[in-house]
Amino acid sequence: MKHTTIFSKMKFKPNPRSLLIALTIALLLLPFITDALLGRGWVRIVDFAMLYIMLALGLNIVVGYAGLLDLGYIAFFAVGAYCYALTGSPHLALAFPVAFPDGVHLSFWIVLPLAALLAGGFGVLLGAPTLRLRGDYLAIVTLGFGEIIRIFLNNLNAPINLTNGPQGISRIDAVNVAGAPLSATQNILGISFPSVHLYYYLFLAFTALVIFVSQRLEKSRIGRAWMAIREDEIAASAMGINTRDLKLLAFAMGAMFGGASGALFAGFQGFVSPESFSLMESIMVLCMVVLGGMGNIAGVILGGILLAVLPEVLRHSVVPMQQALFGKIIVDPESLRMLLFGGALIVMMLYRPAGLLPSRVRRRELGSDEVAEKA
């Protein structure tokens, strides 16, 4: 029942109704308010925060529900992103000038489910050989998987130029909705919607969908089986749960969310390159899940917002502050970000080990001193 508040925000539980309406209106007005108060660049930051929330919710299925520590999650995001980058840009003309003289320009709406499915397939590909691994062993293998994908993308520019290597793929088609590209300002009912606003609404809809799916899965037979595996895999299998299939399902579902977010990212950004999919990004997404509250949808959303927006706040405040105080920039905001980030994690682990908004289970688990010994 803890999730009701955030759900009413995302208009699923019409209770209490007035709060729901207020939050819906607030979310719908958010890009205009942000634009007016902070400038257009911040709307873009909010868009990226939404992508991170989708990623974090996807990872939450794997880590939070099924208890499988995945350090290579960003690889699925990369698979989705490159899926659309290749099928929605002129790039393939370089590799196959005869077959595709103008590149491939499939509609985003065709590629999106394919990207999700392909990423889901990669999820199974990662899951299958790691079924026997748990905890830190699984973390190491998944970390390796994430790096392999990134290094492949980095090097697949020869002998045929498939990914264009470190330069990345640019001129990716924008997402079209009802024939109108979201990359251009659109006038709807006399109101002018700039591109970042349009993408905001697109991402808002997808985030709502991801939340809906997560919540439905959590409170289902499948969700319970995942939690049983997380709690005690041997007991779960003795109770008739097919742990192999359900772990693969968790990997696949999480990866599908990642793949879909990746396709959205490619369409939004118009450009992808391997450096967007580094290990650091996997760790960022994992931190969002852990910091916010593993297994709790509201917590994961909060973690996503905080970790996506705070670095930007830093970037925008630290530089002018140093300029004003010292007349020059002493500490680079990027390194300051890592410093504060590390500090925040340590403080969190000391004072709120279950996350900012812990799930019911984690709160109870860590709230009592008699933490059950597992295996």
Binding site: R221, I222, R224, A235, A238, I241, M253
Partner: protein
Amino acid sequence: MTHTPSLLQLSSVSKQFGGLSALSDVSLHIRRGEIYGLIGPNGAGKTTLFNVITGLYQPSAGEFQFNGTHYQTAKPHVLAQAGIARTFQNIRLFANLTALENVMIGRHVRTRAGVFGALLRNRATRDEEHAIAERARKLLHYVGISKPAQTLAKHLSYGEQRRLEIARALATDPQLLALDEPAAGMNATETASLKKLLKTIRDGGITVLLIEHDVKLIMGLCDRVAVLDYGKKIAEDVPEGVRKDPAVIAAYLGGGDD
């Protein structure tokens, strides 16, 4: 002997761990509707035998037959599906889930809803979820857990945790309920009510296989008893017969001569 058909039949089952023979050539059969006791000194191979028939271990040799199907190697979830449910010697509940959720998870194997059912939450899925919760509540009541169903499993008392494990196992609709030392660490009152519960379960038509150290419980409860020692079955009889068996006395009191 076999006037009632066997539910579980072990044929020459052996299990080796490296050079150690934990079970050698054990054959036994459990009849439908009885309470079958398995006793033996520490390290005799009782839990190993349990782990073999519940799929956690693969036997090194031999096979067993459950409810008319032969199994040589089978996954735990396949055997649970076939109708064998178990509890664990060192309680293995889903400690951070509620008592109710623990039992609901036991229903997994008898229910169907998949991802699409979860997403659509259609009528069939809602009805199924309702039935799962309803059945789980009934089972909590049946095994005598009086604490609220929303209590975390790990916050139940020791005796209640043992009962919760039984409720979770019963939720899988087993034909054979295998209990690994259910009375371990229980006081006399708890043991007495456990005994009553096991009789009720048996009278409800479920065959019970029981590993136990409490000889009084075994003698008062079981229809037949097998004795393991160093991985070998040294006796199988009604409790009175086992009690008088010289090999059993030697195994328990030591001093065997051969």
